[in-house]
């Protein structure tokens, strides 16, 4: 059990590929994606009923170290500014298969 940061990102699903490549470049040890999220925010309702997927959000959860969290939020800031969405950071402890 070790302390980690929980970074949560919710944004439009068209942005997913971009964000994933940012995370992959950063070599974060792992992340999880929940598709099919709907919601409301400054840019109005995202109903998820479109044919395009343009109107669906995606939820990304990353458990990572302090420094990684720092880097991720820095990288996310312009993306969220341009495309909307939020990024939350909270505290947690971590139990993993590779923790010894």
């Amino acid at each position: 059990m070790k302390p980690v940061k929980r970074v949560e990102i919710i944004t439009n699903s068209v942005e997913l590929q971009e964000i994933e490549s940012v995370l992959d470049e950063m070599k974060v040890s792992g992340y999880s994606i929940i598709p099919g999220v709907t919601g409301t925010g400054d840019r109005g309702r995202v109903e998820g009923d479109e044919l395009t997927g343009v109107c669906t959000n995606v939820y990304i959860l990353i458990a990572c170290s302090d420094t990684e969290a720092q880097k991720i939020t820095e990288a996310m800031e312009p993306v969220l500014k341009r495309f909307g969405g939020i990024c939350l950071i909270s505290e947690a402890t971590y139990l993993t298969h590779s923790s010894d």
């Binding site: 068209v14 309702r45 343009v54």
Partner: protein, 323 residues
């Protein structure tokens, strides 16, 4: 003539579309659960593409076909430009460019509905019109993004990834499945068609009805969002289709196209994209409001074309081509 409009309105596909719209009005909980609409739309594109390929294999390539395809691409580049200048009078740069791009592109489901309409009047169209549709889908995206970049003040927003954009314009799923199925229809020809007929043809109209039921739901849900946007979207959304449709008919007349081909060109010119273009613009012009360009194409222009536009173009073509 009224007959034609009523005959269209009281056809099963249009009635199912209206049924979908009414469901939203009475707040029914009816819905076609995701991701079925996406699959149904893939099916319709496959079916129309495959059938087009088979028809193309049976006919032969000629100059008129080549000219039609060229004219189609030209239309797809010119329409968004002239629309932009009109829209810019009332909308922001990004919004004007995005709406122009949507209207420069096409709506495959409108095309498919026109196919069903044409079949019910006993006429037909050439397989190359499916190719024309595929070619007309993406140029407007590029035009829209170019317009924004050329007019934007320096330093605003991120840079455009042109490579990505071009790739997406050429290989987005609807263009891809349409052209792919067309090619496969072309290769397998009559024999392949016979094998697939119960799937690609038999259940086609039924699937179209189901899909239009969903389109009715989706487009009606979008109307409320438009009410806050004033009269500009409504005016443009209702006037653009007939005007662009007439341009399409003019081109058809110049090229001496058949009645069926002319109708399809009018429908392509007069329809607006609510799938491929919004998907591309959400990334390429994020400053534009998807709550504007998407419902304009989906909740105003699409119903207009389905209910009024298609028979209207048909009547005009009957008049024009008989002269």
């Amino acid at each position: 003539m009224l007959d034609l409009f009523l005959g269209n309105f009281f056809s099963a596909p249009v009635l199912f579309f209206v049924l979908g719209m009414l469901a939203v009005a009475v707040r029914s909980d009816l819905e076609i659960p995701a991701p079925m609409p996406k699959l149904l739309s893939l099916y319709l594109l496959f079916s129309i593409g495959f059938h087009g390929g088979v028809k193309l294999e049976q006919g032969d390539m000629n100059l008129q076909i080549v000219l039609t395809l060229l004219a189609a691409v030209l239309l797809a580049f010119i329409v968004p430009v002239y629309c932009f200048f009109i829209l810019r009078l009332k909308l922001s740069l990004a919004n004007a460019a995005a709406v122009a791009a949507a209207y420069g592109s096409i709506s495959a489901v409108t095309f498919v509905t026109a196919d069903a309409f044409l079949a019910s009047t006993g006429k037909s169209y050439g397989g190359h019109m499916v190719a024309a549709m595929a070619l007309m889908e993406s140029p407007a995206i590029i035009v829209g993004v170019l317009i924004v970049r050329l007019n934007a003040s320096k330093g605003g927003g991120g840079k455009v990834k042109w490579g990505e954009l071009l790739r997406e314009a050429c290989f987005n799923s609807s263009v891809y499945i349409l052209l792919g199925s067309l090619l496969i229809g072309l290769i397998t020809g009559e024999a392949g068609y016979k094998d697939l007929k119960p799937f690609s043809d038999g259940i086609f109209k039924g699937v179209l009805c189901f899909f239009l039921l969903d389109m009715g739901l989706v487009s009606a849900r979008r109307i409320s969002g438009l009410l806050e946007q004033g009269w500009v979207p409504w005016l443009f959304g209702i006037l653009a289709p007939p005007i662009n449709g007439m341009i399409g008919i003019g081109v058809a007349w110049l090229l001496g196209l058949s009645h069926g081909d002319a109708l399809m060109l009018a429908v392509l010119a007069g329809s607006a994209s609510y799938i491929a273009v919004p998907a591309a613009l959400r990334l390429a012009i994020p400053e534009a409001n998807p709550g504007l360009y998407l419902p304009m194409a989906l909740a105003i222009t699409f119903p207009f074309n389905i209910i009024v536009g298609i028979p209207l173009y048909d009547v005009v073509i009957s008049k024009v081509l008989s002269t």
